[in-house]
């Protein structure tokens, strides 16, 4: 893969050089669509794998909302064994990150232990937005203590690979600090925001799940900005990134790289990269120059 644009697109994340700061958000790029990634993304990141196969939730699993969508897929995946057997398809000549989730701290730990010995895997992302069955179904993101516990366990099990921790918006600043202290190498911010859609005519819940897409961009951008002002580890921005200027906005707010999720359902990721390249050309900057490069810091909040 050669990306020739006359613009410096490369960034480094946890000592891993990425040819571009873009990568897919977990759960939004399937094997069938991998062609879209070549020459566009700087790293590959398949859908979250769990210890055992998961069938996921019944339909409807998705609903549209203004400038966004709500999904409740229920982490459908074939389980880590099958996942690793199929992983070859995701080797596209770029760093390969793997997202995992468990129902308990021990499951998270065991997943990391398993991946520690996997040569093909360059980094592991913990998806902490799933329910912790030992804590009454609150997610692993429920608070700093919960985050610290799972991250420490995973850190110990994965001594030699970068450990990325993906957080939800709620409590993100405190949770980020906890993750950093527990040994995370980078943070992915943010996962979907809890949301609900209702069918007013059928008077039924349509989908109770997570909101993604352009609607959440300003919320994700705020989270990235606040977290980057708090922690010293790199942040991967995620949430509503749809155009080249969105990539720039997240990097200006402090992100080292970004993930593209729902937008890849409605555009080619290549178009986003092309727009980002145009932006950099106009600004006469390289990608790394953007990181945390806002000229001012804002006045107090309302």
């Amino acid at each position: 893969m050669v990306i020739r644009t006359g613009v410096e697109l490369g960034v480094e994340l946890c000592c891993i050089p990425l040819k571009t700061p873009l990568m897919p958000a977990s759960g939004t790029l399937s094997r069938e669509a991998l062609g879209e990634a070549d020459g566009v993304y700087g790293a590959m990141l398949p859908k979250t794998a769990t210890p055992r196969p998961r069938n996921g939730n019944p339909t409807p699993r998705i609903a549209e909302t203004p400038a966004g969508m709500v999904n409740s897929i229920g982490l459908q995946n074939p389980g880590i064994d099958q996942f690793l057997q199929d992983l070859g398809a995701f080797d596209r000549g770029m760093p390969l990150f793997v997202s995992v989730a468990g129902d308990t701290v021990e499951e998270f730990r065991a997943l990391c232990e398993r991946l520690a010995g996997e040569e093909r895997v360059d980094a592991v992302e913990l998806n902490l937005s799933c329910p912790n069955v030992e804590h009454g179904g609150l997610t692993f993101c429920a608070g700093p203590a919960s985050v610290a516990e799972v991250v420490s366990a995973c850190r110990a099990a994965l001594p030699d690979k970068p450990l990325l921790v993906k957080l939800t918006n709620e409590g993100v600043v405190g949770n980020s600090r906890a993750a950093e202290e527990a040994g995370a190498d980078a943070l992915t911010i943010i996962n979907t925001i809890p949301a609900l859609t209702v069918d007013p005519h059928g008077r039924r819940v349509l989908v109770r799940g997570g909101l993604s897409g352009p609607a959440i961009k300003p919320v994700a951008l705020r989270a990235v900005y606040e977290v980057c002002g708090t922690v010293d580890i790199p942040v991967i921005g995620c949430g509503g990134i749809t155009r080249g200027t969105d990539v720039a906005e997240f990097m200006l707010a402090g992100a080292t790289a970004v993930q593209v999720g729902s937008a890849s359902f409605v555009r080619e990721p290549r178009e986003i990269l092309d727009e980002f390249v145009e932006y950099l050309k106009d600004a006469n900057l390289g990608a790394v120059d953007l990181i945390g490069g806002l000229r001012d810091f804002s006045r107090s909040d309302r």
Binding site: G27, A33, N55, R61, E64, A67, I73, Q76, V266
Partner: protein, 244 residues
């Protein structure tokens, strides 16, 4: 997902439906395949956010056509499009045509008529004889049946053809070597029960987020395999595979 901006050749109202033709030469089209389609945002718009799955109604190698019913915002915008629309490449697995020669039955319920036109064309090309049965709510929607010469038509309100559903018109499905159907899920379940031991393929309809397998939104339950994505493994399934 890549979208192509395609110029509209023409647009026609046929009863309750819109028939929209656009020039298409990029990639071949299988009967039963679909596109993700949307109006052109000018400049790029996020409202609605997602594109809409629509079956190929017809394709002659030059011009593709979509037949659709305006239900909500996305189809209304498509209906208002005047110059061009945006479509994906052809997606999904269409009908696996049984070329062994036996007579085929094509059943469409309401807008489920959509994929049958191009299916009939393919069957004609390879010389498979077939009967077409189309069920509609009323005379207005039934108007599209004039595009299916020889088809047996039924209407729920009895205003045209056989009164009742498409299955009241297609009484003896067991006699066909192959049955191909598209329509609302309850109709498909009934077709499955009524079909004989031959080929029976059903085109299902689930909400879609992406159309290319990425979101896992569009699943249907399949025997022994749990949920599978209808946008890549379907929308056409062997009836016996479906766990309903």
């Amino acid at each position: 997902m890549k979208f192509y901006n395609v110029p509209i050749e023409d647009r026609e109202e046929v009863g309750g439906y819109t028939l929209l033709r656009y020039r298409w030469r990029e990639l071949p089209v299988e009967a039963g395949q679909f596109v993700m389609a949307r109006a052109v945002g000018q400049p790029y718009s996020f409202d609605p956010f997602l594109a809409r799955p629509l079956s190929f109604y017809d394709y002659d190698g030059e011009v593709a056509s979509l037949l659709f019913e305006v239900r909500g915002n996305g189809t209304a915008l498509l209906d208002n499009a005047t110059e061009s629309i945006e479509v994906s490449a052809p997606l999904g697995r269409g009908f696996r045509i049984d070329a062994s020669g036996g007579r085929a039955a094509l059943l469409g319920g309401g807008i489920g008529v959509a994929p049958l036109k191009v299916l009939g064309r393919r069957l004609d090309e390879i010389g498979v004889n077939h009967d077409v049965f189309l069920g509609f709510a009323d005379a207005a929607t039934a108007r599209i049946s004039t595009d299916f010469p020889g088809a047996t038509v039924s209407t729920i309100d009895g205003s045209v053809g056989v009164p009742g559903t498409v299955l009241d018109a297609a009484m003896d499905l067991e006699g066909y070597a192959a049955v191909y159907a598209c329509g609302p899920n309850p109709m498909l379940a009934a077709v499955k029960r009524a079909a004989g031991s031959g080929v029976c393929q059903l085109s299902v309809e689930e909400r879609m987020g992406c159309g290319n397998g990425s979101c896992n939104g569009c699943v249907v339950p399949v025997r022994e395999r749990g949920y599978v994505r209808s946008c890549v493994e379907g929308p056409v399934f062997e009836a016996e595979a479906l766990a309903w």
